[in-house]
């Protein structure tokens, strides 16, 4: 397997070149008078209809890393660490159905571009806005880095990246990222929106073929039996079962809390919110909440490839000769399919990394521009100046992610992403409860956030696993219950308790609550409302796309 697979490589290069052209052409798509504002560059003109939003959100949420990591987790330790992604990505949609339309409305009334904009306006607190913005940025950075890990996994299985020379080894990654950076800079959110079409087409194609192959050639009964055998066997290192095939009662809480905590966290990530705010109306969001589960189906089927690889005896061994579960999906395709089809699968994963990486860097850049630069350095920044700063920051963010992957251990990126999930959930009370009520006191929310961040970080740090001393897993014993649960959710409950108690305390002490910049009717405004800023160039095709 150390030989370079040239057929697969050629297919990947051709498809990569194709999406590069698409990325640059995107600037002309639904052409705006100018891209020199955050509404245009950073939110694609806020005019995407149901169809485009579906692809954009699908491309954004179901990242290359997800496609690599979920089957890898299934392969290594089974259902509790991998398959929870299915209930997670099902229950996320009822949750966003409830609160996202309100965020859409209030953001459109007030020109909010980021979640931190809303929190700042609602609670009249730049400090709380800054907390939300910083959390978003630090949680997103390692997530971008992990997209690169996804690309690396593909390159490694193709036999590329084994060179001793550091420049040569990482050259493909540099090129991929330089290209990504260039078209994100020039086209903004329109680039990933168009590329998402290509990515999703490839992903659906690959998964359908893979599932038919598994059904016909291996058989579902066989893959589940093989998985059951592996997961229930005793691991000689720990004396415990290797993993979970079907969770035992002691792991119900772990499974459910991972699903719920991850679902609540997903739409706190700035890149998810960016994609939602770029849609053209409330109904686009609600309709998408009903049709996005199509991707959850794909994710579930992909997860099963982890089990199929067990049955097929796939050996995910890296170029350094060590086993690496992250390689299991690309290796499975390399072993089971002709090179040209493996090439398509690899391209699907690699392109799948570009869409979220682009949106994440745009979202992180918007947070920096609006909630750090504008809030603290230049209160009167013009829209053109904001867009110019965001464009530069999006480059910096991507460079940071690249440096992350190249200089730090890959395990670090995974650790930080785990922490990112814990951190980002701590912004839930200010953002989501803030959409429904202003009962919480701004400083109580800030204190709750700080306590949740601190508890989550310490608790995650203390988890050891056979591979690492710290950040070994995202589960910890839940206080007073004793069973394992998702740390993020425990930290969230603590956060909420602190915020509630302190709200009473601050109110009793008559600490000023500030003035709400929003009014109740803002939360229901829809496209066509006189107070929603119309975007004439987009309303027409937005309508065409929604009907």
């Amino acid at each position: 397997m150390n030989e370079v697979d040239y057929v697969a490589l050629t297919i990947v290069l051709v498809l990569f070149a194709f999406v590069t052209v698409v990325g640059f052409v995107a600037a002309r798509w639904r052409r705006a008078a100018s891209l020199a504002s955050l509404d245009e560059w950073g939110l694609g003109g806020r005019g995407f209809g149901t169809f485009v939003t579906w692809f954009l959100l699908g491309g954004d949420l179901y990242t290359a890393y997800t496609f690599v990591a979920v089957p890898a987790a299934m392969y290594a330790t089974g259902a509790v660490s991998g398959f929870f992604a299915v209930p997670y990505t099902i229950i996320v949609y009822p949750i966003i159905f409830v609160f996202m339309p309100r965020l859409w409305s209030v953001s459109h009334r007030h020109g909010y571009v980021t979640p931190a904009d809303f929190v700042e306006g609602r609670f009249a607190s730049r400090g709380l806005g800054l907390a939300v913005a910083l959390t978003g940025i630090v949680a997103t950075m390692p997530y971008i880095a992990l997209q690169l890990v996804g690309i690396q996994a593909v390159l490694e299985v193709m036999g590329i990246g084994g060179a001793e020379n550091i420049i040569l080894r990482d050259l493909p990654l540099f090129v991929a990222f330089a290209v990504l950076a260039a078209y994100t800079y020039s086209s903004g959110l329109r680039a990933p929106a168009l590329i998402a079409f290509v990515k999703d087409f490839l992903i659906y194609l690959v998964i359908i073929v893979a599932i038919i192959y598994i059904a016909v050639e291996i058989g579902f009964g066989t893959i589940f039996d093989a998985a059951e055998q592996k997961m229930t066997a005793t691991n000689p290192n720990t004396g415990a079962p290797t993993g979970s095939f079907i969770p035992p009662p002691s792991q119900y809480l772990a499974y459910a809390s991972l699903a719920l905590g991850s679902a609540m966290a997903l739409f706190m990530y700035p890149h998810s919110i960016t994609a939602v705010l770029s849609s053209s109306s409330r109904n686009v969001i609600r309709r998408n909440a009903a049709i996005l589960p199509a991707y959850s189906l794909v994710l579930g089927l992909l997860a099963l490839i982890g089990f199929a690889a067990i049955a097929a005896g796939t050996q995910p061994i890296g170029l350094d000769g060590k086993p690496n579960a992250q390689l299991v999906v690309p290796q499975f395709f390399e072993d089971s399919f002709p090179s040209w089809f493996a090439g398509i699968a690899f391209a699907a994963i690699a392109i799948g990394a570009l869409v979220p990486a682009a949106i994440m860097s745009i979202a992180a850049a918007n947070l920096f521009t609006r909630n750090i630069y504008r809030a603290y350095f230049e209160r009167e920044a013009s829209p053109a100046r904001e867009a110019a700063i965001s464009k530069v920051v999006s480059l910096v963010v991507k460079l940071g992610a690249l440096a992350f992957v190249l200089t730090l251990d890959r395990q670090n990126a995974i650790n930080f992403q785990l922490l990112g999930g814990i951190w980002i959930l701590q912004t839930f009370p200010a953002l989501v409860f803030g959409l429904f009520t202003r009962w919480f006191h701004r400083y109580a929310l800030l204190a709750g956030w700080a306590v949740g961040m601190l508890y989550g970080t310490i608790s995650a740090y203390q988890q050891s696993s056979p591979i690492t001393r710290h950040f070994g897993r995202s589960l910890d014993e839940v206080p007073f219950i004793g069973d394992l649960g998702y740390i993020a959710l425990t930290a969230f409950v603590l956060n909420l308790l602190v915020a509630t108690v302190l709200t009473y305390a601050f109110r009793a002490a008559k600490v000023p609550e500030g003035t709400d910049a929003t009014s109740p009717s803002d939360y229901h405004a829809d496209a066509g409302d006189p107070r929603i800023k119309p975007i004439p160039e987009l309303t027409d095709d937005a309508k065409a796309a929604t009907t």
């Binding site: 099902i90 949750i95 579902f220 589940f224 009662p249 459910a256 909440a289 009903a290 189906l297």
Partner: protein, 84 residues
Amino acid sequence: MAEPDRTERGRKLPPGVVATVAVLVLAPVVALLWVGSYAREEPRLWGFPFFYWYQFLWVFIASACTWLAFVLVRNARRDRGGDR
């Protein structure tokens, strides 16, 4: 000030719609978080243990629930002369 932040008049959905939508939205969440109700191997379906096919089934049920909730909310708003 902590103001009562309620839906403005005329936008408020009828209580029946609100209750139905609440059930539709909560059903998938409750069903999937209640792990004990489906953590079983039998009965198998096309080789899939119950634990796995049951969760796949919920992809479709949840999607239908959310769609129905969307239609209910949209129609209720439309009847009230709201904005779609």
